[in-house]
Amino acid sequence: MALSKKDVEHVAALARLGLSEEEKELFTKQLSSILDYAETINKLPTEGVPPTSHSIPMKNVFREDVVLPFKDVELIIENAPEEESHMFKVPRILE
């Protein structure tokens, strides 16, 4: 699977991932060869084989939907890149 630079830019945009020009060049090459390698799995027939998303069979785990207080709120806020009145501050999203 040969990827173009445009493909790389498209995928990076989906992932909200900024890439430098050099990274775009490098990834165009490397991702193509990694995907080529990954495609070796196509040699293995899988008709009728169910997919495994979890190796150990388990069911959904439910609990009562109750709010529990978290006592170290200050420690959360201390990690905020920008904060105002105990809220996370981000750039303006509406004009």
């Binding site: 992932a15 991932l17 890439l19 990954a38 799995i41 169910p50 190796s55 303006r92």
Partner: protein, 489 residues
Amino acid sequence: MNLNELTAHELHDLLKAKKTSAVEITEAVFLRIDKVEGKIGAYVTLTKDIALRQAKLADEKIKRGEKISPLEGIPVAIKDNMCTKGVLTTASSKILSNYKPPYNATVVEILNALGTAMVGKTNLDEFAMGSSTENSAIKTTRNPWDTDRVPGGSSGGAAASVAANETILALGSDTGGSIRQPASFCGVVGMKPTYGRVSRYGLIAFASSLDQIGPITKDVEDCAIAMNAISGYDEMDSTSVNKPVPDYTKALKNDIKGLKVGVISDLLGIGIDKDVKDIVLKAVKKLEELGAKTEEVKMPTFEYAVATYYLIAPAEASANLERYDGVKYGHRSKEVKDLLTMYYNTRREGFGSEVKRRIMIGTYALSSGYYDAYYLKAQKVRTLIARDFEKAFGKFDVLVSPTCPTVAFKIGEKKDDPISMYLSDIATIPVNLAGIPAISVPCGFSNNMPVGLQIIGKAFDEETILRAAYAYEQSSPPVPLSLKERGNI
């Protein structure tokens, strides 16, 4: 013999007999760190104050004549992708370089409750993505047996800290071999438990269907003791499994007569270093001498395991790493025009190239039009790999292979060749895909570098692999002194 060179069970005996104190043990560990850490670089953060405070508490408990846990006063190193409340937890990434978690991972809570002394947080490949610890954004970690070589990865700092006697034991995490491969490269014991055996709450997620926390120790007995401590159900981790935890130390019977051992022939062929193969076959012979019945077994799907892994793990990683957006914690770019440029620039500046590479692969494999061809196909192959194991375990109690195809490689040797780096996990990856447990135990040396024997077990049958590993360890010749001295730098 210095205190820091002993195992947890040896130190426990000394503590109980009041022949030493927890503070003395911790001080011996930090003396060693002062001496060699500059050459090894195992730690991202050292927490001497915490360790000494915890050691003092353990000593007071001993003085009062209270019953102490097997890990009371024992120095422990924690891989820096497990959350420690108020203590820097970076995942060796720039994007978390200032992150101080507001809570402890469950395993950290458990160790605190058992009275361990936290030495510090160990280096890893950024977000545990890598096989050499060279992908750390923080520092280079070196192999204590040869400082020109990598310690393996991603738990390279953890394995190096144990091998260099800069701690007594460590916790690592294993997504595709990240405990076993560095344990093998550094000549120590490392176990990946069954998926769901140990809580992952507070482990910074990489690939959620594969990640598992486990111990890195100096011997098999310490591994069993650590497994006793950290195993069990946790309601904070919905993937942890509610199954009774046996006393793993009871499995350490020096007897494997009649044990049925499958030797994975596919992991003794192409791509496996000749020396490594010979050493592992010698270990197999040893198991036979001890009474095990060994036979070759073919695992025809294994040749697809690495490719399968490099679709599934990046896909899950790309979703898990969406949360690093510069909003609530971690790095935020200063080049911010609007919300979108904040995301782009924060992630461009904060992630290293391997992490970006995997986010890209994963996003691509999950993207519209490619999902069936890549991600879904890989999940089907995953089923076939698990079936190969099921079939083999119909006949065998455990399976063995080399842990790694080679000994530790030189720093820089594979850095620019992602696929060759990925292939160093060829023997460990199938185990994660099937969710089953495996251990790596040292089994010899090639050119003075350690080789590891991987022993794989059935789901939730850690006991049998511990029993096999223990019997092997007890019978194998002790490490020659000249090598041990090198191992001690």
